[in-house]
């Protein structure tokens, strides 16, 4: 398809009026079309973050528990989800799982295609990011050492209480910076959903580039919107970092 474009594409003057022309989606122009894509990117990322955070916490805790079975389960989960490319995982959720998971398959196939794409992307990104968060949670818990764990048990707390009341609140606060970069990764990874046709930001800037043959305008706008989303996330995470600073650690002295 590359040869369709004007040979002087590099010299073409940007034409921003194209953003006001009507898009394929009824009642929108290309500006709101792209903004809508950005909104789906954000919705997908936030929803997946919630799923990934829950799974990551459970698996991360599993890997630090004294039980060898649970820590093996955790290790297997992480190895599998980290060593298969995200794209392949996405197609496994989109094409493979609905074929042989009883109950899920028929339900999935009756969904409109938009919701099929959304469901697959959500399962895929949520579980994939969960494995990465599990590693962060594990290293956060490891960094606390065995002392607090022992002290908690000595006070008569059971293991669940030690984790919920002592270890996790501190571990989460330590790993906020790495969790932030993981969230930024998740936003970037969500662009993979464009390969199964989900209408998020990357997909929409690609469609706009091809439909209107305004390659530079479309890609520039898509790239800028990703930049803006990144900046907003960074702004909020800095605020979160400040308000949850742990007294007594190096980061708190600034």
């Amino acid at each position: 398809m590359w040869f369709d474009f004007r040979s002087d594409a590099l010299l073409a003057v940007l034409d921003f009026s194209v953003f006001l022309s009507p898009s394929p989606e009824a009642g929108t122009n290309y500006l709101t079309y792209l903004l809508g894509g950005a909104l789906w990117t954000v919705i997908l990322s936030v929803l997946n973050w919630v799923i990934a955070f829950v799974i990551g916490s459970v698996i991360g805790v599993f890997r630090t528990l004294p039980s060898p079975t649970l820590s093996k389960v955790g290790a297997c989960y992480v190895e599998i989800f980290r060593n298969i490319p995200l794209l392949v995982q996405l197609f496994i959720w989109f094409n493979v799982v609905p074929e042989w998971l009883p109950g899920f398959g028929p339900w999935f196939k009756h969904l409109p295609s938009f919701w099929q794409q959304f469901t697959s992307a959500t399962l895929c990104l949520g579980l994939f990011t969960g494995a990465r968060i599990a590693e962060q949670v594990r290293s956060g818990l490891r960094s606390l050492g065995r002392d607090q764990y022992g002290a908690g048990l000595a006070l008569g707390l059971n293991i669940r209480q030690v984790y919920n009341l002592v270890l996790l609140p501190v571990a989460y606060r330590i790993i906020i910076p790495t969790l932030t970069s993981e969230f930024l990764n998740l936003i970037k990874n969500s662009a993979v959903a464009s390969t199964i046709g989900f209408v998020e930001l990357a997909r929409r800037s690609e469609s706009m580039a091809e439909l209107k043959s305004t390659v530079f305008e479309a890609l520039l706008a898509g790239t800028l919107l990703y930049g803006v989303i990144n900046l907003i996330v960074l702004f909020f995470s800095r605020a979160l970092e400040r308000s949850t600073k742990l007294p007594g650690l190096l980061g708190a002295q600034k």
Binding site: N83, L87, V215, L219, G227
Partner: protein, 225 residues
Amino acid sequence: MYAFDWSSILTSLPFLWQGMVITLEITVVAIVVGILLGTVIAVVRLSKNSVLSAIAAAYVTLFRSIPLVMVLLWFQLALVPPVVRWLFPKTNLDLNLIIAFAAFAFFEASYYAEIIRAGIQSISKGQVMAAQALGMTDGAVMRLVILPQAFRRMIPLLLTQAIILLQDSSLVYVIGLADFFGVAKNRAGSTGSQVEFILFAGAVYLVLCLTMSTIVRQLQKRITI
């Protein structure tokens, strides 16, 4: 229950191997060019020239803040075709392959630059001062003292990045290049064994990446100073 039928995978093995060669080519080119370019960017970023250093920082931030899918679209739709047509007007090169090489090399350079910068910064100042006291120029200090040690420390990280890169290379699906996964997906369409081909592709990546990360872990144990 779904009845698996793996027979069409056997007959497709030669095609899958051709795809794997493309995957490995992209990975190797991106590693080699990425590390070379990444080293230059890292050194420039740490240089005393504040303008050049800001440009290097901007390069890294830019590439690290946009999705690889967007990078591939930029290279496919806007950047590579005009340049290739200008350099080689009558070429019959596989344009998609060049797009993949270029996109991955420039994209990975920004990730390698950050790893290499951290490696350079892990070398103690005393060594630089000692080398300067021996009369070495800045370039010689970098080439003969800092980089050899920095690279030795970075090897595990560079290899881990290579594993990520191998996995990310499957995204050339976006530009329609038939790498290992692309071939698997094509054969899945033409033979009707979608499920088997996707699972097979996943299993091959899993084995490949697990083997590589085991090797990295062994290496890490051996070269820890």
